[in-house]
């Protein structure tokens, strides 16, 4: 099997995997980074969202061969001590219930706020429409994105 050099959260990880192996399973099974979640495998739920050169992508639908050319950021790379404004906002609004979908939700929110630091309601809806939460934390997610923007503004 070929070896790929992945750049994840600023570190280099050589992995041996079949070219078509989804990045999701490389992260989870081969590298033990389990913060990125499997939810559907067909890019419908958003639980596996990571940043690919800063843009949110569904890691279940990105082959490892394509990922080797990019800078990948996972939820572990947001901030291990929950210091990222999105993580702070998620605590402030007490968003998580079961928490399973929240890595993906937060990765989407972080990507949105980087390009749009002052998102309107509609912007939030569009950016997070691809993310399913079965517990029903949507109202809090919406509020938390605004709170995160506020935290970012205050520096």
């Amino acid at each position: 099997m070929p070896t790929y050099n992945l750049t994840i959260n600023g570190k280099n990880y050589p992995v041996e995997a079949a070219a078509q192996t989804p990045l999701l399973w490389v992260l989870r099974d081969l590298l033990g980074m389990t913060g990125t979640k499997y939810g559907c495998g067909i890019a419908q739920c958003g639980a596996c969202t990571v940043h690919f050169n800063g843009s949110p992508v569904r890691s279940c639908s990105v082959a490892v061969s394509a990922a080797s050319r990019a800078k990948i950021t996972t939820v572990e790379g947001l901030s291990p001590d929950n210091g990222h404004p999105v993580q702070k906002a998620w605590i402030a609004e007490q968003v998580p219930q079961c928490g399973y979908c929240q890595s993906g939700q937060m990765m989407a929110a972080a990507a949105l706020l980087r390009t749009n630091p002052n998102p309107a309601d509609e912007d939030i809806t569009v950016a997070l429409q691809g993310h399913i939460c079965r517990c029903g934390t949507y109202t809090r997610i919406h509020k938390a994105v605004k709170t995160a923007a506020e935290i970012m503004r205050q520096g």
Binding site: T21, T34, G35, C98, C135
Partner: protein, 731 residues
């Protein structure tokens, strides 16, 4: 704080002695452990408070909820599963209140599953707080009193002059203080007091506060371990291609191509018990998940689908419709409904339909199992750890203590993870390969294998007289969940659950009523789904209340009030009117209400609708009231009400599981659509304050949503919706 429980060390000793218990918990030598000993399993009336030391002397095992070691380290145990509903916060919040420790100073761990030791551990029926809060309060207070006594003896002062706060005991007159850690050795020798004084509610420092959840930090940086994240040394991964029909079998299979996939180790047939039946499939064991997925694609399996019906959705509902014409099993009756119906008068009748649904937890099912000759270890997202333990002990003829059941966090549960099918299948596979294994379900497996929430039909009939209900009949036709669960249930036994959700206080004022059920026969696997029967029953009951109110020419809220005496329910409805502005509502806005009595709590909701620029009705706001009596953490309760409404929204206007040729049609989120962030309206939640006993919070707010929505649609458009799900665009 949260940290994952370390893998327990290998040991074939039976039982969990205090010393071993301490070792497992990572405590230093001397520790005060306080908990209960249930002489009769599950019967809390004979629970006796013991220390670890006392339990060891008696040769019994302790239900430990609290452990304090010599260094003052406090571990509080959550005996229930954490699937989002907040037990990981609320159980410690209760314990810490009476123990007098700061929550930031404690570590919370999941207790292991142990049949009966913690009373029931099955995390269902919104029961965690309401079933255990008194025991938890007493546990905390008992440990506190023992620590105070130890300090008083040490100082040679009166216990009455001492008090505890923040993990320390203080002597009021002198200002002396001692930390709990320095007291545990003495305290652990004290016989626990039989009676302890509990705090008055006004003196609570933690209970009643919206404290931030202790599990949240780990859920935001990728460190929380869900079942799917769990690994143990030497573990392989398995997936199973199961027969898509519940009762189907494996006739033959060809594993040649599957075995050629790199990483694949073994392929074999496996059977999984589901209630009183078994499900057959072919297991693929490999070094990683993706290899299993690839191998499944090239597996060649011939199924044997003979000997049972292959139903489709319309066939199922036709059968229910035929059943609806039968008398059925009488669940509850008073007076003579049949006679007054014959006599005529102002009569009303309506039929309601509710769909089959998938649980679709965001974390698909999975389980890590390690079968060994004399013991079994299981880790996973498990709602009923004590059930898993007793199931495996019985199945593999082991003592319960030889079956170790460890709960991880659950990525949703909603009832699905309370069954013991997926855990047993994992143990079967581990036994076959003689290695620890994680069995992973794909989304498609999770969504198509069920068990499903059963759909049901309801026929409601009423005779009105003088603007009030003179007679009411409700009949449900649908699959009875109990019938598949165990052969001890019989189809002619009334299914009392068909009245769940109904505010039974209505019945006091109704002279003639009859409730009955007709169990529809079907091989589709069905089981509990958030709020269980209430999730469908209440749609029929509360929609029909609205229809009766309109037929009687009454305001729907006033009509309900005229049929309710209970002060508690009346107070809740009054509050609902107040927060929703019910009496001041104006034309152009649709208002609908519904109430429910579910798992020890009363809930009520008002849905406010408005037409958008295209004339499509849109939900402007949902007003929700919950009366769950004594409560712990109001923010968690609000979150549960919000979540219940969003899940109820999905089942009302977004998704439905269909069947075709005996198989589930919707396989993933592309067809089994989910509510999305942009669909969800503003939700306002109000929690009632009173002196009532604790009720449930995780489920009771789901049932009223669908009827409140449809009642609001009638108010706005004059169109009555009796079949779920429906599209708002179609109204």
């Amino acid at each position: 704080m949260y940290q994952e429980i370390p893998n327990k060390e290998e040991s074939s000793e039976s039982g969990l002695s205090r010393r071993k218990f301490m070792r497992l918990s990572g405590l230093t030598t001397a520790a005060l452990t306080v908990g209960y000993y249930f002489k009769a399993f599950g019967n809390d009336t004979v629970a006796e408070i013991l220390t670890g030391e006392g339990a060891e002397k008696m040769g019994v095992e302790l239900t430990a909820w609290i452990a304090v070691d010599k260094n003052g380290k406090v571990i509080l145990y959550n005996h229930r599963s954490e699937m989002g509903q907040g037990s990981f916060q609320s159980v410690p919040q209760i314990l810490a209140e009476e123990l007098e420790v700061n929550l930031e100073d404690v570590r919370v761990e999941f207790a292991q599953g142990y049949q009966g030791r913690y009373g029931s551990q099955i995390t269902g029926g919104s029961s965690t707080i309401r079933s255990a809060y008194k025991l938890l309060l007493k546990s905390g207070a008992t440990a506190r009193e023992m620590l105070i006594e130890a300090a008083a003896v040490n100082w040679g002062v009166s216990k009455a002059d001492c008090y505890a706060s923040g993990g320390q005991v203080f002597h009021k007159p002198s200002g002396k203080k001692m930390a709990y850690g320095d007291l545990v050795e003495k305290a652990s020798k004290i016989t626990p007091p039989k009676e302890v004084a509990l705090k008055a509610r006004k003196d609570y420092k933690l209970i009643g506060q919206s404290l931030p959840r202790l599990d949240n930090p780990a859920k935001l940086n990728g460190t929380a371990i869900f079942g799917l994240d769990k690994t143990v040394p030497g573990m392989l991964i398995a997936m199973v291609e199961r027969n898509p029909r519940f009762m189907g079998k494996v006739k033959s299979f060809d594993a040649t191509a599957a075995l050629a996939v790199q990483g694949v180790k073994e392929v074999f047939k496996v059977t999984m018990p589901v209630f009183a039946f078994t499900r057959e499939g072919v297991a693929v064991v490999a070094t990683d998940t993706y290899a299993c997925m690839q191998a499944r694609k090239v597996l060649k399996i011939e199924w044997d689908d003979s000997g049972f019906e292959h139903l489709d959705t319309e066939g199922l509902f036709k059968r229910m419709a035929a059943d609806l014409d039968k008398e059925g099993n009488t669940v509850k009756e008073k007076g003579g409904f049949a006679e007054i119906w014959q006599q005529g008068g102002e009569k009303l009748e309506a039929t309601y339909r509710t769909p089959y649904e998938s649980h679709s937890c965001m974390e698909p099912l999975n389980c890590v199992a390690h079968w060994q000759e004399d013991k079994i270890q299981v880790w996973g997202p498990i709602q009923g750890p004590d059930w898993v333990q007793s199931d495996l002990a019985e199945r593999y003829k082991l003592k319960p203590e030889a079956v170790e059941v460890n709960m991880t966090f659950l990525g949703g549960g909603f009832g699905r993870k309370a069954f013991v099918d997926y855990t047993t299948e994992a143990v079967e596979i581990s036994k076959k390969i003689k290695s620890p294994v994680k069995v992973v379900w794909s989304r498609e497996d999770d969504m198509t294998q069920g068990p499903f929430r059963p759909g049901a039909l309801y026929r409601c009939s009423a005779v009105l007289s003088g603007g009030k209900i003179k007679g009411l009949q409700a009949r449900m036709a649908g699959q009875n969940m109990d019938l598949q669960n165990s052969p001890k249930f019989k189809p002619d036994a009334p299914n009392a659950s068909m009245m769940e959700g109904l505010c039974e206080n209505y019945l006091e004022q109704i002279p003639h009523y009859r409730f009955s059920d007709v169990p529809t026969q079907s091989p589709i696997p069905v089981m509990w789904w958030r709020s269980v029967y209430s999730s469908t029953n209440d749609f029929a009951f509360e929609s029909f209340m609205d229809e009766m109110a309109h037929a009687a020419g009454k305001d729907p809220m006033a009509f309900r009030m005229e049929h309710i005496n209970d002060k508690r329910v009346r107070a809740m409805i009054t509050k609902l009117a107040e927060i929703s502005g019910w009496d001041k509502r104006q034309k152009g806005s649709g208002f609908g209400m519904a109430i429910a009595d579910c798992f020890g709590s009363f809930t009520g909701q008002v849905v406010q609708l408005q037409k958008d620029e295209n004339g499509v009705p849109r939900i402007k706001k949902v007003f929700a009231v919950i009366d769950c009596g004594w409560y712990v953490n109001p923010d968690i309760i609000r979150a549960q009400v919000e979540g219940s409404i969003q899940m109820g929204f999905g089942a009302a206007v977004v998704h439905e599981t269909h069947f075709s040729d005996g198989k589930a049609v919707e396989q993933n989120f592309d067809t089994y659509q989910m509510p999305r962030i942009g669909d969800i309206p503003e939700i306002e939640v109000h929690i009632m304050e009173n002196e009532e006993e604790a009720g449930g919070a995780g489920e009771p707010a789901l049932p009223p949503f669908a009827p409140a929505l449809c009642n609001a649609l009638f108010d706005l458009t004059g169109k009555r919706i009796r079949n779920l799900p429906f599209m708002l665009e179609d109204v």
